[in-house]
Amino acid sequence: MKSIKDHIMFILPLLAMLIGIEFVLIFNRITTSYENKLKQDYAILVVSKRKLTTPYLRSIDSKIDSVTPMDKKKIASEVISGVQKDNIESIIKDLPQFYRVHLTDYVPLKKLREIKKELESIKGVLNVEIFDKSYESRYALFALVKNTLRIFVSIMFVVSLLLIIKQMEVWQLAHKKRMQIMEIFGAPLMLRSGVLFKMAFIDAIISTILTFIIFAYIQAESSSIETIKFLKNESSILLNFSDIFVWIVTSLVIVIISVIYVAFKTSGISDDF
């Protein structure tokens, strides 16, 4: 019974850590997908007398992804109704060129303003419109959600780590006598800690399996929940199989650090032995 309790006390915080990590991974995938959508929908409008090309603008700022010229006739059609056909050609000819400039990332507003200045400084550029008000409100919401999750997961991680260290201290007391007897008969550190490693590895595997079950269940359920149905369109956004590798590596690293911590703390034979 005590042994089961010892395992549970180690598995639970480890599970909390893995769930926290998985939330970060999922959220990163969701935000990347959302960011891409925002990025695709957003473009800076540039009015220029000179011809602008993608390589040229990229050389000015690496955050510029591409530049697409807009159809002059379409723009002119808004204002030329009623104008004689002969004059239309000459109006279009005299109009400057309109461009849509796409960015590589959904950059912060400060950076967007920097890019605006860079574009304005190009000779022949007449106007640059960055639509900063709508951009800012979207970006603020995006950053708020991202930062809130980061804070939440960080707190969860620290609390879990403290619980694991606490459990390690319990293990240390439970195994101190055995480890000291082995040390007195000349056992090296790794051999003395063998049982701890075995217990901790088993717990790491159990935690990984439980995390998989939880997220596999969430993924199965998500398709029936209306509000998150959009996730269905993103392939394996909830449960990505590469995440399992991340969980295993994380839990093993935590296990190894924890056991080495206990082993070193128990190392040396106490005076009361």
Binding site: R178, E183, I184, F185, P188
Partner: protein, 224 residues
């Protein structure tokens, strides 16, 4: 005869040298000798023994055990030395979660002997200490005398060149004490193992020659 333990002006102390327990002790113990160290409680008998298996470093002077200078011994050398010692404790220090059989072969497990060798050696040793029928029991299922016999069997399991015993019969009745003394006598006589026993009282019936040191006021003196 080859020297197994050599102490020269050995001083042992606690609290960074503030509390000296053994002062300027000089003695030599050779291969195959049986040695008793006696003295009143708190005189430093166990402290002297601890210095021999490296739990306490000399504060001053020299101590050579099995060729290792205990002042300069490295961690890996210390583990090597301990693997070749047999140590018997008054409170047995058995691993209660392990069976008797596994406890007996602990030194073989540490050295990396195969399971077959461990099995054969465990059977032999348990027969020697007359505990064959208890092989699969756990230490807490045995009496104190039986547990100490397991402790002696563990000390003998690798044919050590030196057995250090700290009050090995301190918690035992007369009969069990007699069994433990016989086992230690046999190890010395038949295997030429050096046996150093720290005790408050030398047994009245003892069948082999022995040397006797007494600790008084921090000094270690041989009684002739």
């Amino acid at each position: 005869m080859a020297s197994v333990i050599r102490a020269e002006n050995l001083t042992l102390a606690y609290e960074n040298g503030k509390r000296e327990i053994i002062k300027n002790a000089t003695f030599n113990i050779n291969q195959g000798e049986f040695v008793f160290i006696t003295g009143p409680s708190g005189s430093g008998k166990s402290t002297l023994l601890k210095s021999m298996y490296g739990q306490l470093k000399p504060h001053r002077g020299n101590l050579i055990v099995g060729g290792y200078d205990m002042n300069k011994i490295t961690n890996s050398q210390l583990l090597q030395l301990r693997r070749n010692l047999g140590i018997v404790f008054q409170d047995y220090k058995l691993i209660n979660e392990w069976t008797v059989e596994k406890n007996v072969v602990l030194p073989l497990i540490i050295t990396g002997y195969s399971l077959d060798v461990q099995k054969v050696q465990a059977e032999k040793l348990l027969a020697h200490v007359k505990l064959s029928e208890h092989a699969n029991k756990y230490p807490l299922e045995l009496s104190g005398g039986e547990q100490q016999r397991v402790g002696v069997a563990r000390a003998l399991s690798k044919n050590p060149f030196l057995i250090l015993a700290d009050e090995p019969t301190g918690n035992l009745d007369e009969f069990s004490s007699g069994v433990v003394w016989d086992l230690l006598e046999n190890a010395c006589e038949q295997l030429n193992t050096t046996v150093l026993v720290v005790t408050h009282k030398i047994p009245t019936i003892f069948n082999i020659n022995y040397r006797h040191f007494i600790i008084e006021n921090g000094g270690v003196h041989e009684v002739h």
